[in-house]
Amino acid sequence: MNPYLAGWRLGFLRTIRSPGDMSVRIGFFAIILVVMTALWTAAVDANGGSLHGYTRTSLLWYVFAAQTAVLGVRPRSVEEIGDEIGSGTVAVQMLRPVSVVGLRMSIDMGEACARLIASFTVGALLTWLFVGAPPSLPALGLTAPAVVLGCAANIASCHAFGGVAFWLLDAKASWFFFQKLVFLPGGMLIPLELLPRPLELISFALPFATMAYVPGRIAAGHPDPLLLLWQLGWLAVLLGMAGAVFAAGERRLQVMGG
């Protein structure tokens, strides 16, 4: 087995062996869905039953998919990567004959896939229960790969943002910034079409939309394969960026003491 595939498998196993952590996440996810159902129902009702073409049903399926994709990644991932660089843990990982960032991302992706399976299943059931069937069943089918690709783009970005710790010895500021980018221009809070026009245009030009908006848009009843291609394109760029940041960082690593 390829070492990166073995890393993915290890991450997957590690997550399913921590059912407590997964249960807390799913519980939190269920609370978000309940709150969002109440909020968006009120907002859509106040706007005559539709918001920029999103009905109550499509909006809540959007929320389900966008949240599922983002919650697949560990919430403080960028900060943790920064801490591991600063503390010298990454230095020890460099003593393996494989790519440090490649192995880290494959392990993270294994963890994320375990979480995605659980949260996608539970989230879809709850959303169905709260607002009824999805606007399009083929769209729900296409949402699954979109959620996985969104998660992969998020993990690659986390490594690119966390990698600043090679220079700054810390990624707390970077994590704060990244979190906000996924939240708003990423479409985690609301669909990008609901943002003011200039912000909407900027958001569509950034990679963060592929992490939450694209899965949400597909789940809301737009099973457009071009959206997956858009994700794949940005994923390739983000993987390249994470690889470049780590390669440059490893060359200039400064770790004092044991």
Binding site: P3, T89, V92, P97, V255
Partner: protein, 310 residues
Amino acid sequence: MIAIEARELRKTFPVRRGEPVEAVAGISFAVEAGERLAYIGPNGAGKSTSIKMLTGILHPTSGDAAVLGIVPWKKRRELAARIGTLFGQRSQLWYQLTPRQTFGLLGRIYRIPADEERRRLARLGELLDATQLFDQPVRGLSLGQRMRCELVASMLHAPEVLFLDEPTIGLDLVAKARFRDLIVRINEEQGTTILLTSHDVSDIEQVARRVIVINHGRLIYDDRVSVMRRALLGTKMLDVRFEQPPASVEVEGARLVKLSGAGAKLVVDTGRRPIRSVLDDLLDRYDVVDISVADPPLEEIVSHIYARPV
């Protein structure tokens, strides 16, 4: 055959708004294949920085080095396939999983065929008496048990050189003794070159044949451990607790350095009188409740090295 060679190796760390810190200040030495070398020094001496350069994690500010003929920082991944590392303060095992699952990942990383991996795990498990630990979650292992599994992880790909950075830190006395014995067995049975850093003097005496002492980033001593033992390890520290506070403690061959209530600290010159004889005398003449014997601290050895006539 030379396994490790350092030539004028130097590492300076830049410090924001301050003078750069020179962690390693031009160190040169060579280690033969199959040697057991203790690379020691007080905290902050530059031991770990040296190891990080020799394993390719850090680029030196100047100087040169080769490990198994490879310049570490130029071909780090190529070298990583042929060396093993164990850092006492950094675990390479995943806490939520069993050691065997981590070994499985390491087997794939080092591209060890499955049959060969099973054979090596059985061999290492037997050698390190760790087979029964392989299927327990790492979070449930004691530090001593975990360190044995860490050593298996470091040895799984049959490295030619093993770098051990403070491997006995935090272990109790029994676990330390056992761990030292395991390192010696690995060296003798597999011919692995050992470079061990420690600030525990007992690690040096029981594991290494040769010792290099560094201080403030400079090499200050390089000789056989037997020579060092005669020249610099001629004393033992005794920490004694008596039933009643004695007025004084007088034992031939021992010098009282501190008397505080019922407790006393003595230094024994083992060249003048064997430690066993001093202990017998002490136990015969005084009502001793507790006693412990320790090596002199590394800082004392370093000051002895500086005090030697040139």
